[in-house]
Symmetry: none
Subunit: 200 residues, 4 copies
């Protein structure tokens, strides 16, 4: 039905608008300091509506974080796929994409760190699952590399853990890193360091 579809689209748009406003506000002032009224105002609609789209403030936070993590899940595999077959090239592409997403969303990344515990256990589990899902493509690349002999045998999970930490580090310590690096050179420097450790 055309009407139903139109309505659904409208709903989708509304949701996106609210999430977008919430991301901005949560980043600017932190989840707790930002009020639902402010979110409503910035999104250009009424408080009541927020409660129709998201049951409560915490659910909105969850949606916001999921939205951010979603970008990683969507973009990293694409970039890896587009980079050919060489494990090193694939790793480089994946990591660079990861850091790029973080850079475009620096405050959002911090938000995930700051407010992860704010969520109730349910939400926390959802986030953890998404984080693992997000890291999976990088994990696969390392595994492939190890299988093909391009990388030595190491604890994949530790390496992935480090990759992700170092990527997040770009947001976490941006105030210091930005003096010596830009996104691209940071990613390269980290990759060089890692490759020295895991190349045969």
């Amino acid at each position: 039905m055309a009407t139903a579809t139109a309505r659904q689209q409208r709903t989708q748009r509304r949701r996106a608008e609210i999430i977008s406003a919430a991301i901005e506000l949560f980043q600017e002032r932190g989840f707790h300091a930002a009020t639902t009224h402010q979110v409503a105002e910035r999104a250009g609609l009424s408080v009541g509506l927020i409660y129709q789209y998201f049951g409560n403030k915490e659910d909105l936070l969850r949606a916001v974080i999921v939205d951010i993590l979603g970008e990683f899940r969507d973009r990293i595999p694409v970039e890896i796929a587009a980079s050919g077959a060489d494990p090193v090239a694939r790793l480089r592409a994946g990591y660079r994409a990861y850091v790029a997403v973080i850079d475009e969303n620096r405050d959002g990344t911090l938000l995930t760190y700051r407010e992860g515990l704010t969520l109730a256990p349910d939400g926390r589990e959802e986030i953890k699952k998404l984080e693992i899902e997000t890291a999976a493509p990088l994990r696969d690349v390392i595994l492939e590399g190890m299988a093909s002999g391009a990388f030595v045998d190491v604890d994949v999970d530790l390496v992935v853990h480090n990759l992700i930490l170092s990527a997040h580090g770009w947001a976490l310590k941006h105030w210091r890193l930005a003096k010596s690096y830009d996104v691209s050179s940071y990613a390269d420097a980290q990759l060089d360091l890692l490759l020295r450790a895991i190349r045969p």
Copy 2:
């Protein structure tokens, strides 16, 4: 005067009690969700007293973070000094101490991550300074090692940044890492990886 000293000691103890209770509560429920009344109750004293020792809730948070960072500043140099002259041994000692402090203080570490941004600019600056101070001993060890030829030439600050991130990683992702590592093996695994990258 004995009395003056006794009073000072009492004051010190009180401060420590409050900070300790605050760390627990802030980490359990988050800074915003924890109430000053709860902190008072857990510390076994009255709300009013908290406000006599720390001007307000945010100052308490600041004190808590400073207190945690202080432990790094105090313990790492000692461990390094006690480990002899070999750069690798010194690095190992310093990093292990760092990870150990984090492990003993996992809640506090997470707190620093979560709530560091909650502070007003002033407090944030203070924390940043302390963080740099805290990292200095590790930084010196790397520099010595590079000077003596024990390590190849790399960007010291990047390496130190990674060391600290990976140490914090132990607290940040403890829920996952604890399945494969204990503190000690985690530190060793990370050191091995790093040494592969920076040894000639």
Copy 3:
């Protein structure tokens, strides 16, 4: 639009309800001793709403005082205008109206005296301006009288100052004056005294 008007009316009514409750309470117990919860309770609505209509407790006090002063501004000129052309009659009408308003609003008048200084400089200025505005009609009457020869030349401002003080005196010392006077006889006695001084 009917709805908009209805809403505005409702808003006006709410404001008036809150102000009315506040006048009562502030006068009964003093501004500081009265709590916002008490005001809300007496007005039959919630605390939160008070803060939606008036930003904070002090602003409520300001509104209360402005409201009271407004009655003078509205009523005195009307009474004067309705009293003909004779300066003495006009003075009498104006002053009696002034005292009448005070009598109907004795609590409010005392409040102005007691709590006027409680306001921050901004509010104080606003009040001062209103006070001057309030006195203007009486001032004009005296000036007319002097111009027409009905009154001798005196310092208008001093005379007006005394008129207002003596009117306020009815509220300030009501506990004593009420033994000998009622509103009307008080106003007359004061007028007689004044006229002896300023009639040629």
Copy 4:
């Protein structure tokens, strides 16, 4: 006993110091905004001591007001007595003294107005009694004048009421009056006006 006397003197001095500090503070910030700690600090002693000299904060306020009113009670009769036998001269002397005390203690006068109601009924009664006592000398002067034919027959209490109101008016509306008058000319102008009304 010399020691007992010395102790009493010390007590008297302490009391005076506290009252003096309290007057300053209460005037500067109002009774409610001033804290007992601030009073203690300004008086150069500990909070606890205030509670030994005055049972509680309200009693301190009462003492402060009594102290101020005491000055009227002490000075006006002296000035009247020193001004000879002429009723007009005596009235002038008494009123000028009254206004002078107010001028020297402008904030204290306002304090009496603002905080009179703050006191519990007991204290309020005490103040009222003192006010009447304070006005008595002026009342007597008017009565004498009426008896001697220097003044016409009027309601003494109304006249005294006006005298005192106008004197207080100097403190209450000082911000406006100070543009046209100083203490002395204000007293004279008021006296002139009054004398036109009550001289035969």
